[in-house]
Amino acid sequence: MLLMKNINKSFFGKPANKNVCLELKAGEIHGLLGENGAGKTTLMNILYGMYKKDDGQVIWKGSPVEFSSPKDAIANHIGMVHQHFMLVPTLTVSQNVTLGLRPKGYPFPNRTALNASVKEISSRYGLELDPEAMISELSVGEQQRVEIIKLLYRDAELLILDEPTATLTPQETKSFFDVLRRLRESGRSIIIITHRIPEIMEITDRVTVLRGGENAVSADTKDVTEEELAEFMIGRPLKHVRRTVSAPVSEGGLSLEQVSLVEKGRERLRDISMTIGNGEILGVAGVEGNGQKELAEVILGIRRHTSGKILMEGNDIGGLDTLRRRSLGIAYISDDRHNDDLIMDMDLMENMLLRYHCEKSFRSGWGLLNNAALCSAAQKAVEEYDIKAPGLKAPIRYLSGGNQQKFILSREIASALKCVVAINPIRGLDIGAAEFIHERLLELRSQGCSILLVSSDLEEILALSDRIAVLYKGHFMDILKNSNTDMVKLGLLMAGRTVERKDGQHD
């Protein structure tokens, strides 16, 4: 059906795909597995015509093809659903589905007739939707359905899905897999890009593993085990971060009492109450978009909470601004470091200054900046945290994600640190940097810091947390102790169910 031979692609001299090969048979679900940065999305973007390959051949249905834009791919019945949805939020479902097509009567099409045909396709495959709903009003799971309908509307024979389950609850994932099976039965082929091994095992027929931009292995799914796939993906056996069971926590630390946040008439956070003691890690699990960012920002003071109390060591800090809360010893590691934590075009020294611009030690007598002090502070951070940077004066955008995150950590962690708020701290990082960050967090924990770890990666939560809170629609569904926690139970809580139900039911 599809054969990609010896694909090569580089960006600014850095190779993303090196002699990569992929073979797809008709009517099969094929998994494309690899870590972040392994080259999976690049490869598929080349297939879809978004990127131009430097070298290699793509053979579709027996003949070589050269797609110069998605239009060509679509015309050849290849469709792609990206990790970040390609939906215009201010248009309706129906308008998004027909975007780019020339329906009858163009440029004044019969919108009612189009709505009807969209509805027909959505019912046929179990993807229920209202064609006239505005995209901005849909949930993530529903938006994904729109994306799939888009492909089906164009008679796609090959569907490429990039990290489709990244933002779904376990229950939504189950119904999603049912949809995939139905599509396979109708004769279509599917390529799933993912880094989640259990899902590969469950749904795919064959799997190709990429590592560092190159092929690691291609095999039938039934012929490999999870451990083998993991090793192919990483290139070495996994190292598990060990969390020592701690003594009962002492008083103090960070606590929230019935904190709520209402913005533009919508309740983002509702009655959040929790206490993180000194030397404790509270993990916040939940599907992205349920109030995680809002929770962190309310604690830091970036957003003003509407009601409730925020206390640090017993003192109400709700009235303080961000600068003052930080000076009390609260550190923030955001999930969006490019926008929240760093100024990409400034160098390491100036990014260091971002946190310490009020520090007297960085100022000289006349009120000017003390560059020597800044320099040595930056140098110290680079050495202690083993940060690989092309010099202290290079703009920080030239550092890799892992090194940037290490730098942020080194900057935030000063003496007298009382509390750390971290959101998805290892997302997008390679294993080495991720392990480093986790080890540092555990170190802080043993030094008596209160840590709020918000993450959409359940493995991370289970590995590090002393207690786990589940956030759903801005409210803590429950706070559990982390011992022999049931994944199914967590999944249910994340999907908003407090009562145990049998699997397989739709939301």
Partner: protein, 294 residues
Amino acid sequence: MEASAITLLTTYLAASVRMAVPLTLAGLGEAVSEKSGVINIGLEAIMLLGAFCSFIVTFYTKNLILGLAAGALGGAAVSMLHAVLSIYCRVNQTISGLALNFTVSGLTSFLFLIVFGQSTELPVCNVFNNKNIFVYIALACVAAAAIVFYRSEWGVRLHAVGEHPRAADTAGISVSAIRYGACLVNGLLGGLAGSYITLSQLGFFMENITAGKGYIALAVVILGRRNPVGIFLAAMVIGFSEALQFNLQTLGFSAPSQVFTMFPYLMAVAVLCLSIGKSGDPAALGIPYERDKR
């Protein structure tokens, strides 16, 4: 007394509509461009070159229709240059627009002096006899724009390109083509607006004849929230203040004329303030689109 109050009101309204015409035309064009994601601060340059070209052609050919066409094309030339800079070269659109204002201002001045020399008498050309023809054109454009924006697939594509160009790209729509097209419309309408000033209101051309109308049109677009009817209404508000300016002067108020010439600009600032909290800018406005961007 009643009757004269009504006549006064109608005269003002009529004058306001006429003053609003160039702002409406230029505003509609700019709205199309901004909806596609390209902001053009050089609206002033478009109108200026439109005025100049329409004047020259009408002066020499004595044909008003040809003059109109020349004005539209002149405006289009400026806007397409801005388009190439913004879309292909991906420069800062604000600076590009300002630079164009400078260049065209100097250029029209330069060319005017070459063609007509330093004469004490201002050369004049003939004007449209029926002043209302432009009003009809403007209203027709408002209606056409509303239909295109909200009832046609073109409008959907335009909207998509300005809000989420990557989504449009993956759907197979050519982001550049639509943006270039939008800039072309911007130039044609803006050039038309400039021609109006020369061919309908004044009958001559001189340095800086547009006197900031291009910038006021930008404010009109913001208040009108890029909605054709909204733009027309906002333009009416400013047109009203301009009409007021002329009338107060003739009514013999003893203050210096500058008090009155300030009105439209003060009104534009007030108009801007009224648009507080109603942003709704297209998400990709002013941001050049790069497909290969990681």
